[in-house]
């Protein structure tokens, strides 16, 4: 990528035009989102949905917060706890699978990975029964358990690929010095894992935050995460649209901020999801 002085040929102009159109496609819904969220309910009219509100109604956000604020708290707790568990286990798994390969390790890993792709509908009923039999149904802990377990394949995958780039020579040198499994993890692997943890935590946090099906089936009113609360807000009887729109902004904000501030790591997580064995 050499920085070249730009000459505006017709081709380049056309290119910018296409970029602009594409950006429009991606941003127009955002404009409409804010335009609607900032209107007062009686100013919302399908025919004038494109107009920017004459009077900004920030109250929508307060009302939406009243309705889903508690659910945002649930989501935060849920995402943080299950992400931390999944990340720690994933790191250890990745280390074991990449640096201490045993016969059948790859097959085992492939079998673990399959869990990342299954449609959750195919496990929903037994999962529900299992959580119930643990006595965790309806509480946030049942949901945390489910997210932690189904998060394991992707966290293991990302760490395994991350550690694969660590030279085996480093590990071998440590073994010659007499270090064992745990010493090597502590002294060699863990200290260089920070970027891996950042990628995994961002990715898993986003996934858990955004998940819906488990949220809809494993919780009751007090422990519902924000995705479900938002769907209630939008699916209600008389929809005054400023409320779900403001709610959507609130619900999207945490992951959006993470994405904007730490985009580089986010993209790495994204690319890791496409399974390079």
């Amino acid at each position: 990528m050499t920085a070249r002085a730009e000459r505006l040929t017709p081709g380049r102009i056309g290119m910018y035009l296409i970029l602009l159109l594409a950006a429009l496609f991606f941003l127009v819904p955002v404009y409409l989102l804010f335009a609607t969220a900032l209107k007062s309910p009686d100013a919302i009219n399908l025919a004038t949905s494109w107009h920017w509100p004459a009077q900004l109604n920030w109250g929508s956000f307060r009302d939406a917060w009243d309705k889903i604020g508690g659910n945002l708290g649930n989501s935060l707790f849920l995402a943080v706890v299950s992400t931390l568990f999944a990340a720690v286990l994933g790191s250890l798994n990745g280390y074991a699978l990449s640096k201490w390969k045993f016969r059948g390790a790859n097959t085992l890993f492939a079998l673990m990975l399959f869990g990342m792709f299954i449609p959750y509908q195919a496990v929903l009923i037994p999962l529900f029964q299992f959580i119930k039999s643990l006595g965790l149904y309806g509480s946030i802990w049942g949901l945390i358990l489910a997210h932690m377990v189904y998060g394991l394949p992707i966290t293991t995958l990302i760490f395994r690929n991350f550690y694969a780039d660590v030279p085996d020579a480093l590990v071998e040198a440590a073994t010659i010095d007499g270090a064992g499994f745990w010493q090597i993890y502590q002294q060699v692997i863990f200290p260089i894992s920070i970027p891996g943890f950042v990628v995994v935590i961002i990715w898993e946090f986003t996934q858990v935050w955004n998940e819906f099906l488990f949220a809809a089936t494993l919780t009751n009113t007090n422990s519902q995460p924000v995705t479900y609360a938002l769907s209630q807000l939008a699916g209600g009887q008389a929809v005054s649209w400023n409320l779900p729109m403001a709610g959507a902004i609130l619900a999207a904000l945490p992951t959006l901020l993470v994405y904007i501030l730490l985009g580089r790591y986010f993209v790495r997580g994204l690319l890791a999801g496409s399974v390079k064995g």
């Binding site: 529900f128 309806g138 494993l218 009751n220 209630q232 209600g236």
Partner: protein, 411 residues
């Protein structure tokens, strides 16, 4: 680690269970219907101060979302203390047959409700020798709404029968109205369907459909389906995108002439839209049903294993009391189940409905859970969708009969 979690959780749940004076009620009343429930909760708290009422609502058209959530909770073994359910088969066909409800006969006896609640309603909420829920309100399904100004502008009157409706529809179309009838998302079409059926088959025919004496495949029913198909030809094409309120808006703004909707629409027109009954909006019985009251009722029951049984029984007592019913219903726009209610508290529309309640033949609604179990109604929506697209009356009635057999209707 996991053990510690389980332990922490066990402690947490034990803590909440031992807290005295709690009551969790589960309903789908939010938004417009919220204030009526709030008033009822307030009344309950006046009578039983110190009880913390946890009002869990799950919104979504006519309770469709709430029912799914309720099931996961019941299956999960954490029933709410009392939950909203349509009186009749919706409660009986799902919860009573599965032995999950407590019999409330003794409550009805001790509170003397048998004398003030119409026998038809008692019959509807009874099965296997027990009474299973306390109805709190009565709504009417067979109401057709219109805007008097629109009818005047186009020079038509509200039709009295479905064939008459179809000719009015043709006339309106000829005068440039694209959709004389407005319908909304799937359930409002089923709501319309049941009113076309009652209006075409008559009250007796409708009852026979649900006790198995009249098969769906009977030529009369096939004919009624065909009429329904023609009625749908009068309707708007963007139906599935509209909530019932958005559909009602089309009456207000004159886009469409008629809307068949339950009488909760009266509350929407007067309270939300600030229209005067009779001039801002008008109503009549759905075509062909002038002597019939197609009813539905919301009710609350007592699930087995409810955590706060005593508080729940008190809640049910408030629901069935005269004061409770007359607090709740005027706000909700429904009428009391009790025949001794104080009509002076009620709206213009409700007064007319209460009069009809006493003088009409009463039958139950299909979509709203009175005459058919959920296993029927929830699959019936797809059947209606398909029928509206294909207009194949023979196929639809054959499918409906299979569905009825499977759901055990008429057994």
């Amino acid at each position: 680690m996991k053990k510690a979690l389980l332990l922490a959780l066990a402690l947490a749940t034990a803590g909440s269970a031992s807290a005295a004076g709690k009551l969790e009620i589960f309903s789908w009343w939010s938004g417009d219907e919220g204030p009526a429930l709030d008033a009822l909760v307030k009344l309950y708290n006046q009578k039983y101060p110190g009880v913390k009422v946890d009002n869990a609502t799950v919104s979504g058209g006519a309770g469709t979302n709430a029912k799914a959530v309720l099931k996961t909770r019941m299956l999960g073994g954490t029933p709410p203390d009392s939950f909203q359910v349509h009186a009749g088969q919706e409660l009986i066909g799902t919860w009573v047959v599965a032995n999950r409800m407590e019999d409330l006969s003794s409550l009805f006896k001790s509170e003397g409700w048998a004398k003030v609640v119409p026998a038809d309603v008692i019959k509807l909420i009874s099965s296997k020798g027990g009474i299973w829920s306390v109805p709190v309100d009565i709504h009417r399904s067979n109401v057709m709404w219109y805007n008097p100004a629109t009818l005047k502008k186009y020079g038509v009157t509200a039709p009295k029968t479905w064939p008459e409706f179809l000719s009015t529809c043709t006339a309106l179309k000829a005068k440039g109205m694209q959709a004389p009838l407005v319908v909304g998302e799937s359930w409002t079409q089923q709501h319309l369907w049941e009113n076309v059926m009652v209006g075409t088959l008559g009250a007796q025919g409708w009852e026979n459909l649900w006790n198995g004496k009249l098969k769906f495949t009977d030529p009369r029913v096939v004919g009624a389906f065909t009429t329904f198909g023609k009625v749908m030809d009068c309707a708007n094409k963007d139906a599935s995108g509209l909530s019932w309120q958005q559909a009602s808006d089309r009456i207000t703004d004159g886009t469409s002439a008629f809307n068949v909707m339950g009488d909760w629409a009266a509350g929407y027109f007067t309270t939300t839209k600030k229209l005067a009954p009779g001039t801002g909006f008008g109503w009549t019985t759905a075509p062909g049903t002038s002597k019939v009251f197609v009813m539905l009722a919301d009710s609350f029951g007592l699930p087995k294993g409810a955590k706060n049984r005593a508080e729940t029984l008190n809640w049910l007592k408030v629901l069935g009391s005269k004061q409770g019913q007359d607090t709740f219903n005027p706000l909700k726009g429904s009428i009391a189940v009790r025949t001794d209610s104080d009509l002076s508290k009620y709206s213009v529309y409700s007064k007319s409905a209460a009069t009809d309640w006493k003088h009409s033949k009463i039958v139950g609604s299909m979509y709203h859970g009175a005459v058919a179990p959920e296993s029927f109604t929830s699959a019936f929506g797809a059947l209606i969708d398909q029928f509206v697209a294909s207009k194949d009356s023979k196929g639809a009635t054959a499918a409906a009969q299979q569905l009825a057999d499977k759901a055990g209707i008429g057994k």
